[in-house]
Amino acid sequence: MRSRKPAVLVAAAVCGCLALAGCGGGPSAAAGKFSDGKVVIGLLNDQSGVYKDVSGPNSKVAIQMAIDDYKAKYGAKAVAKTIEIVTADHQNKPDIANTKAQEMYDRQNADIILDVPTSSAALAVATVAKAKRKLFIDITAGTTALTGKSCNKYTYAWAYDTAMLAKGTGEAVVKNGGKSWSIVYPDYAFGQNMNKSFTEAVTGAGGTVQQSISTPFPNDNFATFITKAASTNPQVIGIMAAGGDLINFVKQYNQAGMQSKAQLAVGLMFITDIHSLGVDQFAGTSFTDPWYWNLDAQNKAWSDRFLAKTGTRPTFAHAGNYSAAMNYLEAVQAAGTDDADAVRKQLDGKKINDVFLRNGEVRSDHRVVHDVYLVKVKSKSQVTQPWDYEKIVATIPAADAFEPVSVDCKM
């Protein structure tokens, strides 16, 4: 037995390196003006992994709220009598997202797919939507390619993109005196995209990026990268990691005593990140938020409903899913059918003001532009109630927040 121990241990190390595939989603029964007599909304997102809390199963609750509101608004006049939600877990993998999206459109008769975090997965679903001529509204993925060179007639981007985050945070921080930057970004599609967007935004606003440091993804030890980022004494360190990696970075950033030496700017932050790390660790950090639950009475009222159903405050992704579902159902109502092309004509160019979108407009490239907010994380003493973490520093008007319509987008 001893002699085989090395083999077993090496095998163990090798097996461990192999990622595991899982399963998710269940089949559902599937027949006008309405393709099968009903409207089916597919929610395709991360139900178990790193983005589960950001969007995940609670987005179904948000979509159900939209269905309830639609039925309450139109009552007997509602053209969509039966509305179903089907869900699936794409585990943030583009291949699984591709398979699940086909399954949703073909077998589960989904009329639309919503959410889809992770850029590569969202791009995979956009391709499927285009081929199947069915609708897809992306909420949680941030790639500009969805409305750039990969844009198509059936795909919409509802909430944010990396360019908007970079423009918002990058320009604002430079204008406030944070001219020299070190950027630390995870070495995969999202991180590279963010690094590029932020570098453009910072230099465009008159700042300089001294160095861009790539890190492995995922990664739990950033100590060396932080030392390196600090080595050129920048005024601002920009971190483009998300989720658990972001938390790792910020913990170690604070541990290294960096708060007093450089200002921290976070590329993409969800309120769940602040909640999980504790407001103290993020206090004073700047970032751009597409939506905040406690912005005003309207947001607060909707968030209270959400809280009653889920026990937690909504992220911008939850509100985005609600808004996308609601506007889709409104478009179905206006078109009188769930035919994708008819519904699409109702959505295109629409101006929207709802709980999620202020001064919103569905642009010709299907990028939904709206007011976004430059925020700073409150210090512990400023927090007056649970989840009350953000202080709105400025509202960035819809027209300035996003990049202009991309020349790469040809539908």
């Binding site: 090395p6 992994g49 790539s214 541990q255 999980s276």
Partner: protein, 289 residues
């Protein structure tokens, strides 16, 4: 130069986690012949336990450092008594698969209960600043992690070399069957040794709590590196596990600093090299206790 010292301290701090956890893995592997894949999950449990204790019972970091290993010891005892024990007579692969499955269950249970975005943890008092050594500023907590993990490894070392229990554990680690034939009731030591190994993983978890994201998945990557550490150090070699732990920490830090693209690959290249040229590991055969 100053940056080099910083990278070294950071490497040793990261190595401290690996050394502690690998020490537990090596002892379990040696005495039970079990490749404990759930070691990463137990490291995660240690961090989660510290966070929950702080949140619910306001148990301070320094107290958690003492309590959590005891809790994890009990978890280890339960795992061994209820599960591991029944497969010890079979091919070691069975227990590897069992602990692999167990770690998936533990991770999912924590996910279900605490979500995926992580648990908050306040930085322990007195550990937030920097210490200055010859004009070089080093994070206090990194220095603490280095020293504390060295201290624990030292204490374990003394236990192993100076006590009768340690002598028996060393003997069983080297050859459990032979120790049986010399009248040692190995079965009696299996449960406490497994518990002890898990407790060390838990201790590494508590130390990680102020320093790293406390999420259900935090042990996934960690356990892979741990296996590399144990392979590099030598199978079932206690000294090897500790030395390789710090070595891998340093390789990771220098790699990140000077060749970031190869930082993670470097560890596995080192492992492959060791397996090729010294299959028993750096400290495999001629281990001197």
């Amino acid at each position: 130069m100053s940056a080099f010292v910083q990278y070294t301290v950071q490497g040793l701090a990261a190595g401290g986690f690996y050394a502690l956890a690998a020490l537990g893995l090596a002892v379990i592997f040696g005495v039970l012949g079990v490749v404990n894949f759930s070691h990463g999950a137990c490291y995660m449990l240690g961090a989660v336990a510290a966070a929950v204790l702080l949140d619910v019972l306001h148990v301070h970091f320094w107290v958690a450092l003492a309590i959590v290993p005891v809790l994890l010891f009990l978890v280890g005892v339960l795992m061994e008594r209820l599960l591991i024990r029944w497969l010890l007579r079979l091919d070691p692969l069975y227990n590897f698969l069992l602990t692999f499955g167990l770690s998936l269950i533990l991770v999912d249970v924590v996910k279900r209960r605490y979500g995926v975005s992580g648990l908050p943890y306040e930085r322990p008092a007195g550990m937030t600043g920097q210490v200055h050594l010859g004009g070089i500023g080093l994070p206090t907590y990194s220095v603490f992690v280095c020293l504390f993990s060295l201290l624990i490894c030292g204490v374990v070392w003394v236990l192993l070399t100076k006590t009768r229990v340690g002598m028996i554990v060393r003997a069983c680690t080297e050859d459990a069957d032979r120790s049986r034939a010399l009248g040692i009731n190995v079965g009696r030591w299996v449960t406490p040794v497994f518990g002890f190994g898990i407790a060390l993983a838990g201790l590494a978890g508590v130390m990680a709590a102020p320093f790293r994201a406390i999420t259900a998945d935090m042990g996934g990557n960690f356990v892979i590196i741990l296996f590399a550490v144990v392979v590099i150090g030598g199978l079932g070699s206690i000294l090897g596990a500790v030395a390789a732990g710090f070595l891998v920490g340093l390789v990771e830090a220098y790699g990140q600093a000077y060749a970031p693209t190869f930082a993670q690959v470097a560890i596995f290249v080192l492992m492959a090299g060791v397996v090729l040229f010294r299959p028993a590991g750096l400290f495999g055969r001629d281990e001197t206790a």
